[in-house]
Symmetry: C3
Subunit: 410 residues, 3 copies
């Protein structure tokens, strides 16, 4: 597909309808997506508690890229491309582990944890160590959340994080630990996967578990974030009352969404759970230690989208963090991390099965849904269909994506 | 490959030789084949007895297309593309089953069995249900055989079926049921798979079972249908005698083959089985109830090709129906259905193993043969070879195919 | 990729650095490699002892090509493409076996072992058997080693073998037998696989077993053949002393490497094993009968590369022969054959596990190394890195390859 063809295709997309088939199945568009959309976003890939000690590392793999996230002797965390500068071998072979020195398993070139060369045997006299450092990757840590950015010249992290800051900070994630981590490999294009996450129109038919902890009026109006469904006067009233009470407690309230097109696609809000629910578990009862600045349970639910590739869904006592990782045109990994207060003890303060129950069962259902969606979208008869009033979030995401892609092709 | 290149390639094909490698291995030619050859034929995909009750359905899958074949409350059978008009999800997920309403598993849009929308929640005020019916697929039923046609403007079914009508009708398939069904996935291009079915030159070395129920002179002259091998005076004599006897019984006789190029590639004939054989089983003894208009066994064998993608091979007491389904450039599914009189009882009137014996063992052998053929055809050294006098059927099929493809490229 | 682009890419390659990514991952370059590099070399594919009797055969498979290597009634060995001239089927379906006549399993065309048609039924009157012989493949046997060449007009075998002749002949391989054979499928481009074999810079960190039988100074200076590492005065002295002793025994000594660019990439030398080692086993003690012209153990190691696709590593009492078979852009089979004196008896004269120990464990390690190398080379961040003083063999191979490819594109 030529640039001009893709630009034409972008023009042809209809308001309040899904995308044309090409966007969900074409390999060239997928490559453009990775290069120009995914690679330009700050993406949350892990929490500092995953690598607590000097030398601890984990790999973040996306397409043919493998990034080493490693903690040095001075507690500084670095991100390096997992590619030896000598002959190109992967240096770290295990998904996670501990290395005090990064030694290439091929010819034993060794690198310090900051990426500088420690030693390389038998090189010629004019070999300059400084020229052959590991390729670094942009990395920023905010509240214990590790964000990376594959761009050569990344957008300002401060600008990026600023509107969602207060929502995240209140939850004290820097004082948290990973209680559970799970990857759900999904046979669907990343945009089809995110379409699913950008609307709650399917929640009622497909997610009884989700519907048991969230108010039906919330699901209609806020299920995929603020301003993504038709307004609900009933829920507005509930929210108003709850906001007052929570403000009195000194807890954060409010909502954010992008008002004009920019490099980001962020949103955030705090809303109450269903009547009688204190957290996102089956019986709705508190499950772990209160996190962050919460002094008492406020029955709130903090939903933050830092980019299309991450969602942070946070209760008072645990947080469920999502990373959507495009693997190939028709494959996406959905990675979930559950965080609790760093002092909470498994078995005593929380039970993993109870905590992961809702999003585990819901993500498994979504995997199935997305895979059946992808099968139909591959048909010659698939044509963009009309969106409902509960799919405004999907329409927003679509428009942001199309403009981003259009910019890139200009 | 450009159109002009393919047209040139078509011109270069030699009389009485196999096709050039490209036709068996090139992905672009495969796509042309599906779009212009397969999708324009009426293809038999199942028998009404597979879905006897209101709501019964089965899926016919070809490439990325999935078609729902379903019986409604009024016993009308419909064919719909298995693609929800909302976001494109597959609607039916199981290969067969029963649905009184077609409810999309994603957002619960529901369709009546005729494809019209029954309900779609939360759509905007200007949503017009009538615009968003399921995409229908052309469907015709003849003698209980379900034919579909993926073309936008299909050829006349009446014109298509007319020359083979009397042969099929005599067997009373509308009064039959499926006794067994089996798919043989074959790693070979669809044309290589059909080449195998268009000649009986390989029967003697490769199919001892087939040769045990058919006369050696029949195999030479009629093994792949009338006018596909050298004439056999001996078999002409046998046929003449048998025709007389059978006409006296009031049974149908005769043969049909295309005399000039047209949209179809059909053939039909009735011939006697080997001396002493009454049906196509190991010992040749009758195995099930007489079907259709047969009042007594006439030892006849009715062979009908409605298109390259179907063959109906029918004895007096059971029928073996073939569907060849191109899956990808190097993959073809061969589906076999065995039909018996609807009142025949398994165990009492017929034994499945005895009935399927010949074509099951023969199709398994052909699968192996075709796969080894494909391996060799992928070699740089493969060049079209000379056809024998027993491969006239293959030459006919090849010429029909080349003309069809040429027309499409004009 | 257009020719001009590849030619430009060739020009851009830097001295003493690895190749650009394209050479290791591009499908079009791989096809060029097979067509113009692999297919023009004489490649050792097996030893005559694998097919001792009339009718014995084995298949050599490379990409979509399958070659039958078969011994006829007069002990002549032939190589034929495994493609029936009639419809293209593979003729031999098993990897090895015995056939007194090559009968195609499809329509029973039969060929004599020299490739001429023995019989083809039912062909038309003008069928000329002589036109439809099996496609032959160039074959030469030297000292029991079977070499094939897929070129239409192969280079002179005599010219090809002449510089390595004396080294091979001394080992009496024509009087040997295969004691063991093993294929190591490797997920890496063939050039990445050969890069690994063209340097011993990785031996010290990666191959403790290899290092236990070879002198550390040998590894530095000769590990990947003569003139592939920095000179070692210490090893020069060892070699000089050993050469004198061995010349006195009447054994062959010396070395060969290409001095100017030509169609070949050959090398050879004889060197001593580590002090105290008699052969390439764990304890270094003799393991089988002396081979060829050796009258006593001389502790020597004969290393011969006839082309990039073969290495012959020979001790006094057994030989390890390597064939590198490119399978696809990212896959290479490494086949090893261990030869012993034809009269040596397993269990009595030699023990297979002891004999294969070093190269089996080393090839398994290299497989892992190459696969991790390939992963990193697929990264966008991979850039050609600087070669060490111990990677001169890799640089030589690279330059020979680039010139060959450049010639082809002219």
């Amino acid at each position: 597909m030529k640039k001009a063809e893709i630009k034409n295709l972008i023009r042809k997309q209809k308001i309040d309808h899904t995308l044309d088939q090409e966007f969900y199945v074409n390999d060239e568009i997928f490559d453009l997506d990775i290069k120009n959309i995914f690679s330009k976003q700050w993406v949350f890939v892990g929490h500092v508690s995953r690598i607590p000690n000097f030398g601890d590392y984990f790999l973040f793999n996306i397409g043919n890229e493998s990034i080493i996230i490693i903690r040095d002797r001075n507690n500084k965390i670095h991100a390096h491309y997992n590619v030896c500068r000598h002959r190109g071998s992967h240096i770290c072979l295990e998904k996670e582990g501990n290395k005090k020195l990064l030694v290439c398993p091929y010819h034993a070139w060794s690198y310090n944890l900051d990426g500088s060369i420690q030693s390389a045997r038998m090189m010629s006299a004019d070999f300059d160590k400084d020229e052959w450092k590991l390729n670094g990757c942009n990395l920023q840590i905010f509240e214990g959340l590790i964000f990376i950015n594959l761009a050569e010249e990344p957008n300002s992290f401060e600008e990026f994080i600023s509107p969602t800051k207060k929502f995240i900070e209140f939850h004290g994630l820097s004082n948290a630990k990973i209680a559970h981590r799970q990857i759900y490999p999904t046979n669907g294009n990343w945009k089809l996967t995110l379409d699913n996450f950008h609307e709650c129109y399917h929640c009622q038919p497909s997610h009884p578990e989700y519907c048991s902890v969230h108010d039906p009026e919330y699901i209609i109006a806020y299920g995929a974030g603020n301003n993504t469904g038709p307004e609900s006067e009933k829920f507005n009233k509930i929210l108003l009352d709850w906001n007052k009470k929570v403000e009195d407690m000194g807890h954060v309230v409010g909502e954010y969404s992008e008002t004009e097109f920019n490099n980001y696609s962020r949103s955030a809000e705090r809303t109450p759970l269903k009547e009688g629910k204190y957290t996102e578990t089956k019986n709705g009862k508190p499950i772990a230690k209160l996190m962050g600045k919460f002094k008492e349970y406020d029955r709130g639910y903090t939903s933050v989208g830092t980019s299309p590739f991450n969602s942070l869904l946070m209760c008072n006592d645990f947080a469920t963090l999502f990373t959507f990782i495009p693997k190939s045109t028709l494959k996406t990994d959905v990675e979930l991390m559950w965080l609790v207060h760093k002092d909470a003890e498994e078995g005593l303060d929380y039970n993993v099965d109870e905590m992961i129950w809702m999003w585990d069962v819901t993500t498994i259902a979504d995997k199935r849904i997305i895979e059946n969606n992808q099968k139909g979208v591959l048909s010659n008869k698939y044509k963009p269909g009309p969106l409902s009033q509960m799919e405004k979030g999907l329409e927003k995401f679509k428009n942001w994506y199309l403009k981003q892609l259009d910019l890139v092709l200009s």
